[in-house]
Amino acid sequence: MLLTQDDWYETSRDLDWTFSYVDRAAAFPTEWTGAEGIPEDAWEAWEEPFRVSYRDYVRVQREKESGVKAVSNALQRAGSYDQLPASHVAASQMHMGLITMVEYMAVTMQSRFCRFAPSPKWRNLGVFGLLDETRHTQLSLRFSHALLKHDTRFDWAQKAYHTNQWAVVAAKNLFDDIMLNADCVEACLASNLTLEHGFSNIQFVALASDAMAAGDVNWSNLLSSIQTDEARHAQQGFPTLEVVMAHDPGRAQRIVDVAFWRASRIFQTLTGPAMDYYTPLDKRKMSYKEFMLEWIVDQHERVLEDYGLKRPWYWDDFLYSLDNGQHAMQLGLWFYRPTLFWNTSAGVSRDERAWLNDKYPQWEENWGVLWDEVIRNINAGHIDRTLPETLPALCSVTQLPLGTAMSRDRLAPVSLVRDGRVHHFDSEISKWCFEQEPERYAGHRTVVDRFIGGEIQPMDLPGALAWMGLTPDVMGDDTDGYRWAREYATESKATESKA
């Protein structure tokens, strides 16, 4: 008689080695497991809610894959891409360039779990995680490859992480650090728990919804399919958190607090502008802040509190950042558009501006006044004054521009000197992250560090653009050809006529 799954499942997923000719510590070094200070038998309590067998996994994944490909093939035949708003296409190009290879990095992280995680159940689940992430990489590459005939920018799905483009360097710095450079415990708490359970909802649920509203069924479908996997393998975070909280709660709190801030900054760069500026106005469902408050504050943080974690010490500053950081990034992205491999939508027409002021009551005072000068220059024909002539100063932790975490009113130097080198930070929070493990971050070099170190030649902006791999066919520009600014000129003239 065949055994049922219940008969064999517990044994199969908890199968472990009894070592006879090697020390367990040599087979599972704590540098890789991250289990230092945690008793070996503590990991027996590691449980996850997804009781998935390999047979079931393959069957379900096959169905998902067939569904995505059927939709994708039908839409390609229908030529739906040509109907999409340019600003929405820009969001998909940004996503594919910055995220596709992160999926591949996650394959390596999950592979490490398969080999070095301190619990056999976790190692078993890691197999499904690495297969998930392989699928996500392949899906994203397939999606982008099919769109290459429309726009070579989709080539950056594969190419981006082989360049020095600044946003890629910043994202790579984060994901290298929390996925590839971290032991299993830290990688799990930072990536599965914080990034995937907390933040990937923003990218894969919110953007999927916006994409569907914008008519991009293909991309929406892809994002939603990926999210079903993320929701499952993100669950590795909770049992890991439970074990670490029982034996080293201070470490768990520190890892999550650092990861939460660093993840929030990278998503503020990626998803914030896409939701608040790139999505066509009539298709927007929620602002970035509203989505963050619902998914991160109301859901993710509440779950973490159930496990005994406190809110990060910087919570008030994080909330303040939700009112400002993505607007700072948006202005920066637009102004520095030649440094991007996607076109960028300004998103500040009169109607869009009214929406921004409704969602963010301080927007006009903090950001509108800066856009006004940009608009004056566009309408006066001074496009050269809407373009950069040097690099922004960058944060030694997030590698993002100083000034893009809070508002300009709060902008002040946050710095320290270590071994004769000045490190600047985008906030007191990033400085605190650095101070937790200065030896970890001190050697990281931002684009500015590389610039003044002589790696970029000639030492000017064109030299930097070439170094970043930006060629004229992909270099970013305004998605609307600056037409959005004309209504301001018309209104100015009308006002002058009345006067």
Binding site: P388, T390, L391, A393, R408, L411, P413
Partner: protein, 84 residues
Amino acid sequence: MALFPIVGRLVGDFIPHLVAVDTDDTMDTVARKVAVHSVGRRVAAPPGVPSYDVYLGDRRLDPSVKLGELSLLPLQWLDVRIRD
């Protein structure tokens, strides 16, 4: 004289910039080199010819002092304010 990188912020703008200055530059020159990246780009130019003050922390620097006299580290943050 030598090329020297500083972080320069025009107070009122939202980001500071990497600015290449010279150790022989006076603060007046440093101010102009910082301001050019912000004034008339995102921060409206004041009427007439603008003049500026340079601050190291809370300390206003003498406009005639040269950068090389300040013993700064590379990437020191300097604030530039439009003079009222």
